[in-house]
């Protein structure tokens, strides 16, 4: 067993944001339809390879979104969910908001990648609101994405600035979705979440035992066949 546990460490050091984005991009199956959330998940698009033939969806009504627009490409009528000017690729399509969210809710997207404040041991997601009394709540499309995509990947640092684990037994922040997260990419490990608890696919810069000391839920090594 210890042999398995030590073997899941795949990096001497924790992964940076770009290394993590490169790993998520590599893990997306060819031909997938994907929505990348605002913030850290948008980095993933920098590492998708043309031969993967990934189609990007943006909630404001487009499939076939291309890279961020520069110079003469900038067009105020062509923006992404973060309201950043983007480009269109051959084969792109536009549709109204109800259709765009039908694409999500209807289970047509293979993967969405989101940021998070917390993920619970059973895959509950909290990523939209701190719950602080003076905070102005803003949910956008987060709940629809969390509920609708076949797989929900989260990208986040494992620990808060104060050193608390963002993988928790139960979320203390307001929920975005219940039991929706299937995989969590962090600087220290990749976690697989589901009804059976949290399994660790690989660790970066720490062993499984060192990781367990940081995370307040039981961790098991994911069998290699499921990687």
């Amino acid at each position: 067993m210890s042999l398995v546990e030590t073997s899941i460490q795949t990096s001497e050091t924790p992964l940076g944001r770009d290394d993590l984005a490169r790993m998520v991009a590599r893990d997306i199956a060819p031909g997938s339809f994907v929505n990348l959330g605002i913030g850290q998940p948008t980095l993933v698009s920098n590492y998708l390879k043309p031969e993967q033939n990934i189609t990007l969806h943006t909630e404001n009504g487009m499939l076939g979104m291309g890279p961020v627009a520069t110079g003469d490409q900038i067009d105020g009528d062509l923006i992404n969910a973060g309201k950043i000017p983007v480009t269109e690729l051959p084969g792109a399509s536009y549709f109204h908001h109800a259709d765009s969210f039908a694409i999500m809710r209807g289970g047509h997207l293979d993967i969405c990648v989101l940021g998070a404040f917390q993920v619970s041991a059973t895959g509950d997601l909290a990523n939209w609101h701190t719950g602080a009394p003076d905070a102005i709540p803003a949910v956008g499309g987060a709940m629809d994405l969390a509920t609708g995509a076949k797989d929900v990947f989260v990208m986040m640092t494992l620990l808060t600035r104060e050193g608390a684990s963002k993988i928790v037994e139960a979320c203390t922040y307001p929920l975005t979705g219940v039991g929706c997260v299937t995989r969590v990419y962090t600087d220290k490990a990749v976690f697989l979440t589901g009804p059976d608890g949290v399994r660790v696919r690989e660790t970066f810069g720490c062993t499984l035992e060192e990781l367990q000391a940081l995370v307040p839920v039981p961790l098991t090594a994911a069998p290699a066949v499921e990687q």
């Binding site: 109800a98 102005i136 509920t147 975005t176």
Partner: protein, 233 residues
Amino acid sequence: MLNFVDSVQAAVSAVRDGSTVMIGGFGNAGQPFELIDALLESGATDLTVVNNNAGQGDQGLALLIKEGRVRKMICSFPRQSDSWHFDARYKAGQIELELVPQGNLAERIRAAGAGIGGFFTPTGYGTMLAEGKETRIIEGRGQVFETPIHADVALIKALKADGVGNLVYRKTARNFGPIMAAAAKHTVVQVSEIVPTGALDPENIVTPGIYVNSIVRIDSSGAAAAGTAEQVA
């Protein structure tokens, strides 16, 4: 009844004090700035506004909020880096907020236009945005009952209209336009171009003219352009 009007002031005259107004746009894309400016100028107040956001910067919807014309916002994402006018009103307790997940917002608007009395959706189930709402387990999933959002007036932006009010849009500026056009009792559209009836390919029309009541052409400088009636004729 379809009218082509020569001024934005005439176009927004259907908005009364206390009206519920849908305003198209996602961020600035598709936001009908000239119609919103005219609404501000009209003095209409005590409005309930339906939009994805709650205004950005010092233009459009943000100014309506700044001037205290909006009693209630129904939106999905009010807080942005430049939503300072909404933020100030909200923190002062001077504006009501109904926060709706974006897909539920879109589908509630669609439902209103389609004559649907409500629907069950998995989005929001188990969250604080479903508190107080009817829920059911359907096909093994928790679902929340959501009701339609109707409006007195919709203000939207399209690229082109023809003489019978058929509309086409441009890129991601389409967003909420088609569903708001159907959900409001009176739909006002600002377009960049009015083309003769028959000039738009019927296969490519996004919003059929049956949903449209009032059209004003805004030239590229942002001014309402006269002479639309002659173009249509």
